[in-house]
């Protein structure tokens, strides 16, 4: 199908497949991406949690850092993130984030050790600024290669494990956050057992010219359906996962965001490699004193969704805003509205009832623990 190109938007190697499958394409982070297929967002979401969903995430940035040794690469990267990189074993992946001088988060990312190299996956919307941040912050002897010739595909859901293992039995040995080179239907891929849905699954990096063939092979499986960005968002929201730009941004510090768990002891005060990343002072102050606001799960009491920007109040009639919704929508798996937001630390306790201003009316919303749906990671 030959559609007019939308305004200078880039296309991923799976563009033709999206069109063949009847996707509704929308602009996203400079790319023409599928927001949904004919099945619709709700059914795509439920299918992923019941069977397996295939996501094109080739718009995200894939970068390889290499240098004189693993230690050199790891320590260089540690200057940019408040995370233990040096201690990462070969074939393992971790979650991290770039910080700025105020201790805020510039982008969140995944990084994996592949031999002596560091493989980093960054958000599409932050690709250019992240590359600039790395170029400026990494020493001369660390080589940064942007892998523009690779696509990224995610297969997520309870059946994803058996689909991939059928193609390469080695996959069955992989646990959550393992990374391995696999051979899927004749295609050499870099696979990690991870994802953005709260389900078991894989994120698969493959040569761009082989991506379409691999995607077709996967969608040929009766249990696999193509899933768009609409359902990707509702899935990650139910899983309590942050979306950069909504739930975390340059003004959010890790502890307030509930991401302190990603900062291993070795980088904290008293650790062998404490500090040495941007904003360490501010982040350590927050560790010592506690954050002023916290990210929480929110369950509107009625049926009306509470979306990004909804102001939160401690009482039905008070005029002092104590929080804001940063992500919100409908959770198909919980059959009701779900949201995340930040509230003043003293109001952030579970089962507290707050009030959200929705179209001028105050509606009740309960503070709840995240995630909304239990995780199914293969541990």
């Amino acid at each position: 199908m030959n559609r007019g190109r939308m305004d200078n938007l880039k296309r991923t190697p799976l563009y033709e497949i999206h069109c063949e499958l009847g996707a509704k394409m929308v602009p996203f982070a400079g790319y023409e991406m599928p927001v949904q297929y004919p099945m619709g967002v709700m059914k795509e979401h439920l299918h992923t949690r019941a069977k397996a969903g295939l996501f094109d995430v080739s718009h995200m940035g894939q970068v390889l850092l290499s240098g004189p040794s693993w230690d050199a690469v790891a320590l260089a990267f540690e200057a940019l993130v408040p995370v233990d990189v040096l201690g990462l074993a070969d074939g393992r992946q971790r979650y991290g984030f770039f910080t700025n001088s105020a201790g805020g988060i510039e982008d969140d990312l995944m990084f994996a050790r592949r031999g002596d190299d560091l493989f980093v996956v960054i958000n599409a919307a932050c690709k250019d600024s992240d590359l600039e941040l790395m170029r400026a912050g990494l020493p001369q002897d660390i080589k940064m290669t942007t892998l523009d010739d690779r696509a990224l595909i995610a297969l997520q859901g309870p059946v994803a494990g058996s689909v991939i293992a059928m193609l390469d039995p080695q996959a069955a040995e992989m646990r959550f956050m393992d990374v391995r080179d696999l051979s899927l239907s004749g295609h050499a891929v870099w696979a990690s057992r991870s994802g953005y849905t709260g389900e078991d699954g894989f994120e698969i990096s493959v040569a761009a010219e082989e991506a379409a063939s691999l995607a077709r092979r996967l969608t040929n499986d009766a249990d696999v359906a193509a899933i768009g960005l609409g359902a990707r968002d509702s899935l990650r929201l139910e899983a309590g996962l942050c979306l950069y730009g909504n739930d975390i941004d340059a003004t959010t510090r890790p502890l307030a965001a509930g991401l302190g768990w990603a900062m291993q002891k070795v980088r904290r005060p008293g650790g062998a490699r404490a500090g040495g990343f941007p904003g360490a002072e501010a982040i350590f102050a927050e560790l010592a004193d506690g954050p002023e606001r916290r990210r929480v799960g929110l369950r509107p009491a009625g049926r009306a969704p509470m979306r990004t920007g909804v102001a939160l109040f401690a009482q039905e009639t008070s005029s002092t805003q104590i929080g804001t919704v940063t992500s919100g929508g409908f959770g198909p798996s919980v059959e009701g509205p779900v949201a995340m937001g930040y509230v003043a630390a003293e109001a952030a306790h579970e089962s507290g009832v707050l009030w959200g201003d929705v179209r001028g009316k105050r509606l009740a919303v309960e503070v709840v623990k995240l995630p909304f749906v239990p995780a199914n990671f293969k541990r």
Binding site: V41, H45, G230, R307, G329, F330
Partner: protein, 119 residues
């Protein structure tokens, strides 16, 4: 049936005019998850926001197509908003109203004009 540029349909049913959204609009919206209907007895003016309809992704407003008074709302939609995606031009009507100025109906599109409008 008459149609508005906001993708609502109107059908005469005795003294009442039944209002809903078109199949085209329902498809554009995607899965509907929430509907807030007006109260029976409310007086409305043309183009006033009277129904809030939320899909998985976003909220939309439905505007009053003509001046009048709401006589009945389809409360079944409150419990089953998904019905809008199943039968938008039949079972999933939103509300019935009386027209205070029936001539406003003449300004609206007929089926052929609406099909041309959305083409």
């Amino acid at each position: 049936m008459k149609f508005t540029e906001e993708h609502e349909w109107l059908r005469q049913d005795g003294d009442d005019i039944v209002v809903g959204i078109t199949t085209h609009a329902a498809e554009q919206l995607g899965d509907v998850v929430f509907i807030e209907l007006p109260e029976e007895g409310t007086t409305v003016s043309k183009d006033e926001e009277i129904v809030v309809i939320e899909s998985v992704k976003a909220a939309s407003d439905i505007l009053a197509p003509i001046d009048g008074e709401i006589t009945e709302v389809n409360s079944a939609l409150t419990d089953n908003p998904g019905a809008v995606n199943e039968d938008p031009q039949g079972e999933a009507w939103f509300f019935k109203m009386t027209a205070s100025d029936p001539s406003q109906m003449d300004e609206l599109m007929d089926e052929a004009a609406y099909q041309a409008f959305i083409a």
